[in-house]
């Protein structure tokens, strides 16, 4: 009897120890994580600029050797909307902007001169709008025909082209309405981060080297193989003057050159160096 009691006592003491020894790892106290939702109070300011880059401000040499300098480069913007896209919008993919927030920056045709201000001018400010904080990583915008004013085409290039002993004063009325969907600005710095009571900048960028090419790039570079240059237009000049619209260019240029020009115009719209998807206007 005593022996049984001793055995039971031994098991009573031993089993808890056994349990303790073989027990699994005691889970640590559950971590309590708190996440603060991003501040939505207050608002900041988005400044929209339009940039023709140094090609417009300082002039450049085309792929076929014409020194082109611009007096005015008018573009008419409309329906400019900035988005906070989640996920980030990729213009190379077959998808639409997935907006969790958006702000309209331009709601009526607005014409700006990309060549204004001279060689060292900053990009042209189009508008400023209040917006809620967040990362504006997508931008949609249109080029449209102006409804009023002296400018009557979606895009007008005025300037002078010089090559050897020829000088041509030109006005190109490129009235081709376009619509673009773009992702985040790509450049030296990142743009689009807006916090309350601060300011950020978004940019519509125009790459005119896509139309005329760039003598500084190799001849077989895509920027030149895809550009029409200025020679075909110079052939249409009369007494050093050229004033044409797209309809005339379609009639007078070779089908191949006009096709190249049309494609280059469609590819003008960028956000910095970032490409955009051209959609139906």
């Amino acid at each position: 009897m005593v022996k049984q009691q001793v055995l039971l006592t031994a098991f009573a003491i031993g089993l808890p120890l056994f349990t303790l020894g073989c027990g699994g790892t005691t889970p640590s106290d559950e971590e309590t994580t708190t996440s603060e939702s991003p501040s939505t109070s207050g608002s900041g300011t988005i400044t929209l600029v339009a940039n023709g880059e140094d090609f417009v401000r300082q002039g450049f040499v085309t792929k076929d050797g014409w020194q082109v300098d611009f007096d005015h480069v008018y573009v008419t913007l409309n329906d400019v909307t900035a988005y906070q896209s989640e996920p980030a919008f990729d213009p190379d993919q077959d998808q639409d902007i997935q907006a969790k927030n958006e702000v309209t920056l331009v709601s009526e045709p607005t014409t700006v001169d990309l060549a204004a201000g001279g060689a060292e001018a900053a990009p042209i400010q189009v508008t400023e709008e209040k917006a809620s904080p967040g990362m504006y990583n997508a931008l949609a915008w249109q080029l449209v025909t102006p409804e009023a004013g002296d400018v009557n085409s979606a895009m007008v290039l005025e300037g002078t082209a010089q090559k050897e002993d020829r000088t041509i004063d030109f006005v190109l009325n490129l009235d081709k309405p376009l619509a673009y969907q773009c992702g985040e600005y790509v450049g030296d710095a990142r743009k689009g981060f807006l916090e309350a009571d601060t300011q950020t900048e978004l940019e519509t960028t125009f790459h005119f080297d896509h139309i005329f090419g760039d003598a500084e790039a190799p001849a077989d570079d895509a920027i030149n193989t895809g550009a029409v240059g200025f020679d075909p237009m110079a052939e249409l000049a009369d007494n050093g003057s050229l004033n044409v619209d797209l309809a005339t260019l379609e009639q007078e240029l070779s089908p191949e050159n006009y096709q190249t020009l049309e494609k280059a115009i469609q590819g003008l719209g960028h956000v910095g160096e970032g490409h955009c998807k051209e959609t139906e206007a």
Binding site: P87, H207, E273
Partner: protein, 157 residues
């Protein structure tokens, strides 16, 4: 009693953690690297292009800078403690692109890996067989002690 002594000795031998005075150890862990490949629209690689990587914890400041290979590729290992969208920007000669790469659940995975690694360094990483041996030894000790006293009492009677 001699057989009990040898039994204790045998069990102790199998349950003890091995110790080597001059051993060397190599640990390893798997990490998730990200490789990107940048090309122009023509398909030509963006060779030696400027690459900037932004971590989701501070997307306004570069986390890493580098250049692509001749094939336009670039490899980096994101900090596993920082989950979210890692943005990679590639630029060259006026052309550029930016891609967001979601990196999720790395924090929990890494925490588990780190916990496992730290357990092994603390020396608490016994195998199930060793744990069972140690428990059996403890129980056997109580039973043996109980039997010892029980035998003495019955002999007195």
């Amino acid at each position: 009693m001699r057989w009990q002594f040898f039994l204790y000795l045998t069990l102790s031998f199998f349950s003890a953690a091995p110790v080597f005075a001059h051993g060397a150890a190599i640990e390893h862990r798997r990490t998730s690297a990200i490789e990107i490949r940048a090309t122009y629209d023509s398909g030509e690689p963006m060779a030696n292009a400027q690459v900037t990587v932004y971590a989701p914890s501070d997307p306004t400041k570069p986390w890493l800078k580098g250049t692509t290979t001749e094939e336009g590729t670039f490899v980096f290992v994101p900090d596993p403690d920082i989950s979210g969208d890692w943005d990679v920007k590639v630029r060259q000669s006026g052309h550029g692109d930016l891609v967001s790469i979601p990196v999720e659940n790395t924090e929990a995975t890494t925490a588990a890996n780190q916990a496992q690694a730290s357990d092994s360094w603390r020396g608490g990483n016994y195998t199930p067989l060793q744990k069972a041996m140690m428990a059996a030894l403890g129980i056997w000790g109580f039973i043996g002690t109980a039997l010892f006293f029980a035998r003495n009492q019955s002999e007195k009677k």
